[in-house]
């Protein structure tokens, strides 16, 4: 019963996201931010106006305000980039996350703001000997009511019919003369209003705070994916399932199983991701989801890969020479060497992600898992097994490859967002295990004292090691892409059916690609561990996975040079903006937005397009 109220609030949070994704395929990272904005606006209404009007009127006002915000975002930003690669909206909405978090901090301050209780529903009622808050009871009933309302809206109205049609085949809807632009705007506004309402309804239960955006985002994605993207009833069923499982874990508390005490409440850290992994393995499109028709011509078909021309090779050589010269700066500007080391590790990380996300077409949202496992593999081999650094660095990719082999085996069987979410679920499970396994991994504090031995303790020398391995890793992956294996991989991405027909074992090829990417990523992780002298669970955290995607997209996902450009730009931007201003998140968000609008194919992608136009 306690789970039911939480299920309702999870449902409000995720229904909007599901709707938006179902129709426009936008992976809306800003959904959690809209939810947070809703909570803050509702707080202001409820506490400044007060009373019945402030709270209940505030709910309506919040929904309306968020609908407006959603409309603005859709019209001013998203509409400009629908035509480019599908995932590119992720980058734009990620920038919004950064921006909105600073906007909210600037407007409302940094203190947690606990709203007043809901007028009329302040107390509790006794049910079966337990006190149950009236407001929870209200939420419990409101969930199904909103579900029914949305269901009627979608199935009984003409507008709903169009939305459902667009969910299944938006090109056909367009061909029938429906104004897609208006439809998309309306859906985005409705989704945003639902997010805002979800946030507003939470104010009597939890304080509006600046951490809401990201924690809500994770929950929303899980619910939407478990339920099936675009399925509103699915979202409700999923919310119910997850909330109940958590409630049961908490209710069990500490249990003694075969003499061993096990605290079930610790499972709540990861329960939803375990559910998501199991559901996706058993039902690849979520509980109530259906396979989605491929959008036709979502992005222009990519040209076949071309080996680098003379000019490009010369450029690469010049960059390499420049990079080799960096240690000469060790005296004059030691920080440059340190920063350059970080940049190179980011390049290797992003390049390994690009390997499967670009040519492989598998958008991994959990790539940090292999980075982190490389980190921990190297660190623990050094600390516990007492191996020297070289062996630890060599062993790390194997650890990551093992994990990639296991997770990849399941992941390559899915596609699109479901694949992305399954990789995310695996990454979160790895994260939770590392986070909890105090005795082996040092728990939340991680492992310290992993510094490279002489002569690598000098920044310049270590930098050269990182440079050598990064160049090796990048060239190796490039070589693979130009080998028959790489062609098979791209064939499997572009047309799985035809590829199978020509005798390519698509699953096997993609699985191998996944393992290769995982092990290269593990190498990056090992280098990171020694560069930082320690490791912590944050190396596996979802925010690192997202950083990786941002780097790839910023550089251009369809360009081999994409990650080589995106990773340095992102790392250097973050480093310098962070130093300049306390509002670095907002500034970074704005810069990324500008880059998104100026370089709609990613930086490398757009420049390559200009070059092609110029050559003609």
């Amino acid at each position: 019963m306690n789970g039911l109220a939480n299920a309702s609030s999870l449902f409000f949070l995720s229904a909007g996201l599901s709707l938006i994704f179902g129709v426009s395929r936008v992976v809306n990272m800003a959904h959690g931010s809209l939810y947070m904005l809703g909570a803050y606006i509702a707080y202001t209404c409820a506490s400044k106006l007060g009373g019945m009007l402030g709270f209940w009127g505030g709910l309506v006002a919040t929904a309306a305000a968020l609908a407006l915000v959603g409309t603005l975002i859709e019209v001013l930003l998203l509409r400009r980039i629908y035509h480019v690669a599908e995932l590119f909206q992720l980058l734009a909405t990620f920038a919004l996350v950064l921006l909105l978090s600073d906007v909210v901090a600037a407007l409302w301050g940094v203190e947690d703001l606990l709203g007043p209780r809901a007028p009329g529903l302040r107390g509790s009622v006794e049910i079966l000997g337990h006190n149950y808050p009236q407001y929870d009871l209200f939420l419990l009933f409101l969930g199904p009511v909103v579900l029914a309302g949305l269901h009627i809206l979608l199935s009984r109205t003409r507008w709903g019919t169009l939305v459902r049609a667009a969910t299944q085949d938006r090109d056909m809807v367009a061909a029938l003369g429906v104004d897609q632009a208006k439809l998309f705007t309306a859906v985005f506004a409705l989704g945003s209003a639902l997010a805002g309402l979800g946030g507003a309804l939470e104010t009597p239960r939890q304080p509006a705070n600046l951490g809401m955006d990201l924690s809500a985002l994770g929950d929303a994605f899980v619910v939407v994916v478990v339920g099936g993207m675009g399925s509103i009833p699915g979202a409700y069923v999923a919310a119910l399932l997850i909330a109940e499982i958590k409630a049961i874990c908490i209710g069990l508390g500490t249990q003694h199983i075969a003499g061993v005490a096990f605290n079930f409440s610790k499972l709540t850290l990861v329960a939803e991701f375990i559910v998501m992994a199991i559901v996706l393995i058993a039902r690849p499109y979520g509980l109530l989801g259906r396979a989605q028709g491929m959008p036709r011509h979502a992005a222009a078909m990519e040209d076949p890969l071309k080996p680098a021309g003379q000019a490009l090779r010369l450029l690469a050589l010049a960059v390499l020479v420049g990079l080799l010269a960096v240690p000469l700066l060790a005296e004059a500007s030691p920080y440059t060497v340190v920063l350059a080391t970080d940049v190179l590790i980011a390049v290797l990380f992003a390049a390994s992600l690009h390997f499967i996300a670009g040519p492989g077409g598998m958008h991994s949202f959990g790539h940090a898992a292999y980075f982190g496992l490389g980190c921990y593999g190297a660190g623990l081999l050094l600390k516990l097994a007492g191996l020297p650094m070289a062996a630890a660095i060599a062993g790390a990719p194997l650890v990551a490859a093992l994990a990639a082999a296991l997770f990849g085996w399941f992941a390559v069987r899915l596609s699109g967002v479901y694949l992305a979410m399954l990789t995310l679920a695996f990454a979160q499970i790895v994260w939770a295990v590392v986070f909890q396994w105090e005795t082996l991994t040092g728990g939340s504090n991680g492992v310290l004292g992993i510094w490279p031995p002489a002569p690598f303790n000098r920044a310049g020398i270590y930098y050269l090691l990182v440079l050598g391995l990064t160049v090796l890793g990048v060239l190796l992956m490039r070589r693979i892409l130009f080998a028959p294996f790489g062609y098979a991989m791209r064939a499997g991405r572009d047309s799985p059916l035809r590829a199978e027909a020509t005798g390519i074992a698509v699953l096997k090829v993609h699985w191998l690609a996944f393992i290769i990417a995982g092990s290269v990523c593990g190498l990056a992780g090992a280098l990171f561990a020694f560069a930082k002298g320690g490791i912590s669970p944050e190396t596996i955290h979802v925010s690192r996975s997202i950083d990786g995607l941002v780097m790839v997209l910023l550089g251009g996902i369809h360009e081999l040079a994409g990650p080589l450009v995106g990773a340095p730009v992102f790392t250097l931007l973050q480093d310098s903006v962070m130093r300049q201003t306390p509002y670095w998140r907002g500034v970074l968000g704005v810069v990324i937005l500008v880059l998104v609008l100026v370089f709609p194919l990613g930086i490398a992608g757009t420049i390559a397009a200009w070059a092609r136009r110029f050559a003609r």
Binding site: D112, S124, H130, N131, S265, N445, D575
Partner: protein
């Protein structure tokens, strides 16, 4: 190429160039302090902290600085994760040329920077992190820590919990090192003094995502006499509201870590849970002249009252000034020696940096939560000196044997 594009490229190039500027030359006539903290990820605590240290620095410099030289703080956001924090620390050391680092809030960041300080042989004053490891298991000679550790804060509360003479207890804590170690210490210290104690249930909740309804229900079903709480921040607000609505706290002894700190107590307003025994910072009830002067100066300057973060930030910089004065400069080795048994007069009273484990004796206030004028506050307050809640020296040496 449109002008907009050209502008964007120029801007990007400018940013890149800025990142490559060679090391700034150390300004003459100042002592530079490198400060780093998770300003963006923990703003509620760290904004007041920033104000606190800024005020201390301005006070020190208005009086002519230290040894005739001004103090200059180079402050950075540490990105909220250890990887970035270590890079930022590198930047402060190698580019800004500081050899004194201060700051950090989260335990794992504090530990990472502490290990970095050891590797690079620079001095580090950890301001906020509570983890016991930073002075014990992972303690190193380059690192001192200001705030009372998890162990110390639990030890301050245990006598009150024992006094209640309750048999059945439950624990609720955030599921990461801080919460786990607080729970472990509480169980150990209670069991030592009250062998018949029973710990009926434990709820370890994900940080920032407590499922308040089911957790409160589970605690109510456990039929306990006392609850030890370690939740803080938004988790605390959810727990308190849900628990109050469901009548969980009625007739139970509630013992709670950090809940009396304004950062966590103030959001609850008039719903602050009455009678909880807490550690905290009742800034308006501390009547020593030095603390009143601190509050007056702070309110005058910022038109706002101090939070615990303000006090911690203020004492951090005052301690560094005292240490630098005693060491005759910022030489790492001299500073390490100077901090050993360094006495600093602070608004919280005299504080000593222990030579044995590099922990300061800054204490905390213990009292009961009350509501006055629609706001949460503490009553029956007592300042407990950090020196009085330490394990024996022999135990400390054993804990710190890793060095």
């Amino acid at each position: 190429m449109t002008s907009r594009r050209r502008f964007a490229i120029a801007a990007a190039a400018g940013v890149l160039a800025a990142a490559m500027v060679p090391a700034a030359v150390q300004a003459q006539g100042v002592f530079k302090i490198g400060e780093l903290n998770s300003y963006k990820s923990q703003p509620a605590f760290l904004e007041p902290y920033h104000r606190g240290w800024q005020m201390a620095i301005d006070e020190i410099n208005a009086k002519g600085g230290v040894l005739g030289r001004k103090l200059e703080v180079v402050s950075r956001d540490d990105g909220g994760n250890p990887g970035d924090a270590v890079r930022v620390a590198e930047e402060l050391v190698s580019r800004e040329g500081v050899n004194v680092l201060a700051g950090t809030f989260l335990s794992h960041l504090g530990l990472a920077v502490s290990d970095f300080a050891k590797q690079k042989r620079v001095f580090f004053l950890a301001a906020e992190p509570l983890t016991d490891k930073i002075t014990w298991q992972n303690g190193n000679r380059y690192t001192y820590r200001l705030r009372a550790s998890t162990y110390m804060q639990v030890a301050m509360l245990v006598p009150y919990a024992l006094e209640a003479k309750k048999k059945r207890w439950a624990l609720v804590y955030p599921n990461f090192e801080y919460g786990q170690s607080a729970a472990t210490w509480f169980k150990q210290m209670m069991k030592d003094k009250q062998p018949d104690i029973e710990f009926v249930t434990e709820q370890a909740t994900p940080l920032g995502k407590v499922e308040a309804g089911p957790v409160v229900q589970a605690l109510a079903d456990a039929k306990v006499d006392g609850i030890f709480n370690v939740l803080f921040g938004p988790d605390l607000s959810r727990f308190v509201r849900e628990g109050t609505t469901r009548g969980l706290f009625k007739g139970k002894t509630m013992v709670s870590l950090l809940s009396g700190e304004p950062e966590y107590l103030d959001p609850l307003k008039d719903e602050a849970p009455l009678g909880w025994i807490v550690t905290g910072y009742p800034w308006d009830k501390i009547n020593t002249p030095e603390h009143k002067a601190f509050v007056a100066a702070y309110e005058k300057r910022y038109n706002d009252y101090p939070r615990l973060g303000s006090l911690v930030g203020y004492i951090t910089m005052k301690s560094l000034a005292a240490g630098i004065a005693k060491a005759g400069g910022t030489d790492t080795e001299k500073l390490i020696s100077a901090f050993a048994d360094l006495k600093v007069d602070t608004p919280a009273g005299p504080v000593t940096y222990r030579a044995i484990d590099h922990q300061s004796t800054m204490g905390a206030w213990v009292g009961r939560i009350a509501v006055e004028k629609g706001k949460g506050t503490m009553t029956d307050i007592k300042y407990i000196d950090g020196a009085s809640v330490q394990p024996s020296d022999a135990e400390v040496r054993k804990l710190r044997s890793g060095e």
